[in-house]
Subunit: 376 residues, 4 copies
């Protein structure tokens, strides 16, 4: 083994490191807020290490590793400083493309959760990371957080182990299209309300911050609470995959919001159909969210995707899209249904498994190629 | 070979023959107007023949044969009387379920096209045909007419040989759900206009007749032009698969309607988007058609399916559905996107091939099971 | 419709017609002895007919049609003269490649079975048929006769309807490799004995005749009984798919051969294993058959394929091959196991269905490409 | 988090822990010599840790984790003591089935490589591990060591990262059959010679030791060099997957064996065929190895599997099997070809990828079910 050299993240020229996922301003150490977030480098040498710091209370960090585009490793990281060997004993003259990324979504209910990337130990040289041709932003719920993409069919614990970016339609789609991607998602959240009628749990409320999903002082210090600089990264397409929790809320008990003391409940009519007033709340939230997305992303194709856990909200979602479209005169917006998860394709706790993510990705890649004129 | 006995269609008790597809009043000979239409019997004996009469000018009849649910034969039938042997040399004691059906859609532009079933020659006994548990009606265009489901990728002739009910998502779906089905479809037609801006080519205009797609005196005499008796067959679900030609019309030249001498054209704006007034014609046609469907089918779940050749009209279709839904207060209506056809799944002349039909059927079967509470 | 011209088979120049399958000397009318046998032409014009004559007693003829490589039609032909329209109403300027072929194996137990091709009616011109790059010969039993490739799982009648060349690994393999092919097979036969211990039913005994499987005076007159002119068609590879019936015979009752009055039985030992002497009969038959094949095909790669209905005879077959190889010093011989048929891939009467044939073909194509150095 | 209790491996009752893979006599700490080796427990509690010790020089240890049968994690372990959290924050009342196993084969060329399992930290109770119904032993080369089952297509380094038991036909097969399994394999080795003509690299030479593949003093102390107690674990079936390296040796340069100073080379004839004398060395090695296997496993079905990287040695292998069979009068031996790896199914450095392992496992499971009468 040759002598290892240490290089801080911040000392790498911008073409020598690609940061995956939405960033704030802090570069050293580099905070990784979202699943799918991480770093990518191309490096020669026989051996390569990454130095990271993690913290958490009950929801520990999970990370994954890819080398030359192939999945290599996935593991839990408990709180502490970690120096992880990403490869060793390899041909030192050959450059390896290394992607190290967070499996765990931004964790709203564990304020201690963090992943900081500090630097690399290496005996080779960093080379330029090839530029991605395209940019995609995914906004979603547990599906986009990869919940249930790992784990056995009967497993029902709600824990980081079962969430991922590695077995995730968003990652698969971005890879197939050679696209850089951002992934902003939260299990249980909706476009208007969370699955449990907690109306605070809607993605629009956090979209404009660097990571509005990460609360608390520590995250604030890392820059999570700042306004996100949308100009820094303009996606070609935004894929919104929301609605699954909004529709669930109609079948859940009422929720007393501790913030205002009020009771919230999406209501069903006596015949089992959805209360029209409550449907319109979703419609309006969609109009509002699309308006917000367009404001910050003036040129992106916006694609509302939905259907991996049922398509019951199709007409409500399209009502919202159509209302926005009419109002805004915006034609760069479309609706695309994703294939449903079936008994053959479930992962754990009745969420899409890897096969369902593969199915969804296959359809979405085909759709985006045509919609955006992206030939192979 | 034992001596064959001849039995007319009309002399079979109603439980001994199942007629597939929409029927008028005439039973002897039995006219078969639509693809997927035909007869089904369960019969013992070593040998079984069917007597049919066909006519056509340039669009000849095609028929297919299934025995015990398995595809056996498919052939062209030129004009004339045909006595076709459907099986022979079989174990005479075993009952065979025989399904003989039309591959060719109702052929609007060839007034001579007909298929009449007259009777059967047999050396066994007719048994009761097991009842189907469910009923499905499919209303569509070339996709539902199975255009391109046979033929090589490069084939572009518009001829009966390439159309089918045998390699057709509607047939596959009905089989998978053990459902009887009606199939009302016409290549090139839409819900508002045909692909070539011929506004006469819309399914709503013919839906209320026995077979409004079959013109001319001969078909009139067979009962095609009569009002259809909707009470005679009420489907559990209606699958409307229309829109593909409506959206194509925007990119086609104007059409001079010989009936009124007027010029018709669905217009594009100068930026390539669709003219809003013209979109609204489709929206209104959808509202009107759904109103008509509901009038005649008060209890059916109506599912608008779309997407096997692109999903560009998703938002226009759902706008129409939502408008109807709001107006009618009708909750038994939904929208379901079908998987797009890809380079791997095309049949001939850029229409869905058998793999695309299989993909669509798989998704649709899953959807209908859940939507209608149909456990396996 | 333009006026049709009649052209006899024999009046077509040799480059204008490709005869599929082993031929004797007679060209007018052209006898088709084997499944997969038939004619292939490339013809312009709007319309095309074939004139054939068939005969049979209880095992009627079945034929299939492909246009431009795509399956179009499959039907029964009862005894008589038939003028069959293969296409019509097509673009007259475009050339179509038409393949018309026999679905039914040579039928040893129905001496009346015949298929004669007489000529064509057409309004276009015959063009040269592109040459196939490669030549394959398949020698087999019911599997290669496509038994069970059509029909429902529970169907057990032994009738032509369930046999095919259209859903057959040999046809699929030849197509994938752009190979001309001969197919010599008989259901129930083996390399040493038939499934029922009828030792007369072995392929080697008929291999050297044009069609030793077709008995009787009529077939004799058609040339079936003549010595086959092996020099006329030398395959690049011979695929022998035999053994399935030989191994079955051990579990069947003894058979009294009416030709010699003797009793035949492949014996099991008391512990259920196979009698070694009887195994050696198969071994010796393999040695003999391989010697015969090599004599007539000095340059062909010989591949013994086996396994689509179990692989119990693997060691006996390879013993035979090794014995032959040692004796003959022949290195152009190999053994290749085909994937077994499973509950998912059965067709009718426990024979390989179309999926099993596809699986087998996929493996075999891969193998032959490598073995024969056939790049794509 | 509740207080964690520590339990040594050796203090668990035998029904409370299942040791995967071949064991010697040492239980505390428990040495794991082979890939696929490890421990399996069923444990309640919210949290569970394993304490292990590893060592290595340039070939570091890799391990994998399954919970309730689902793949969860895979990671590198550098030399040292490791306390790894296998799960946490889970429902404490629910029992989890945990399988922790070695990904890396026994590493002959790195004498420091070791994996010792010491104990567990837990806040729940150990329950009985359900007994496996069946026992399988796999003996193989790099394929069975899972070489290339991870990694990108172009990766060619020979390092532990690319080897596995987690993406391995042997593991998949055992799971599908609910079988306990032993896996004895070494990349580059054969039944007679290694791929590079190093004749010392043959599996028979190490089969009778606990782990003859693990050299050196340290392994000796751990019990690797002891005679294996075959009576302790008698498999229902032994799958030998050898031959791929023996056949490669013919195309490799000669090898000077440092042990005896002699030169070794499997020779090709001038026409490119294999030298017969050298083929017979493989034949004899097979006879010898089968004799050895039978001696130690009197009742096992022995299945020689081969073909995942070509089937060129089919006839040599079967010659060996037949010779052994004749000599030993042993009928519980069979040959089964596995599906070849294709461009679609390669993993890294031209070895079978996960799809190829899945294909092989599917065929093998089907075969073993029938051969051993194992109904589902």
């Amino acid at each position: 083994m040759s002598v290892l050299q240490y290089t801080e993240v911040s000392s790498l020229a911008s073409d020598k490191i690609h940061v995956l996922g939405r960033m704030g301003r802090q570069r050293q150490p580099l905070p990784i807020f979202f699943n799918g977030g991480g770093v990518e480098v191309v490096v020669t040498g026989s051996e390569f290490w990454i130095d990271v710091e993690t913290d958490s209370d009950f929801h520990e960090m999970w990370i994954a590793l890819e080398i030359n585009g192939a999945f290599i490793s996935r593991q839990m990281l408990l709180p502490g400083e970690h120096s992880l060997c990403l490869f060793r004993s390899m041909d030192p003259t050959v450059a390896k493309r290394v992607r190290f990324y967070r499996e765990l979504q931004a964790m709203g209910d564990d304020v201690k959760v963090k992943l900081l990337i500090k630097g690399f130990k290496h005996d080779g040289e960093f080379q330029s990371v090839p530029k991605y041709e395209r940019k995609l932003e995914f906004i979603g719920d547990s599906i986009t957080s990869g919940e249930g993409s790992y784990g056995a069919f009967d497993d029902v614990d709600w824990i980081p182990m079962y969430m991922s970016a590695s077995a995730n339609y968003a990652t698969m789609t971005s890879k197939a299209l050679n696209a850089d991607y951002h992934l902003i998602s939260q299990g249980g959240w909706g476009v208007f309300t969370g699955w449990d009628n907690d109306v605070r749990h809607n993605l629009p409320s956090v979209y404009e911050k660097v990571c509005g999903l990460a609360p608390g002082e520590m995250n604030k210090e890392l820059g999570a609470a700042e306004e996100y600089d949308f100009a820094s990264w303009q996606p070609d397409a935004i894929i919104v995959n929301l609605g699954t929790n909004d529709v669930t809320s109609f079948n859940q008990p009422e929720f007393v919001n501790p913030d205002d003391g009020k009771t919230y409940k999406m209501r069903l009519n006596s015949d089992g159909t959805r209360n029209r007033e409550d449907e319109l709340k979703i419609v309006d939230a969609i109009v509002g969210f699309l308006t917000m997305l367009r404001k910050h992303n003036p040129n992106a194709q916006i694609v509302w995707c939905y259907g991996m856990l049922g398509s019951d909200l199709n007409l409500v979602i399209t009502e919202g899209i159509n209302k926005y479209k009419e109002k805004a005169g915006d034609e760069k917006i479309s609706f695309f249904q994703l294939p449903d998860t079936t008994m053959d394709t479930y992962g754990s706790h009745m969420h899409p498994g890897v096969k369902s993510h593969q199915n969804a990705s296959k359809e979405l890649v085909h759709y985006l190629r045509i919609k955006l004129g992206w030939a192979d």
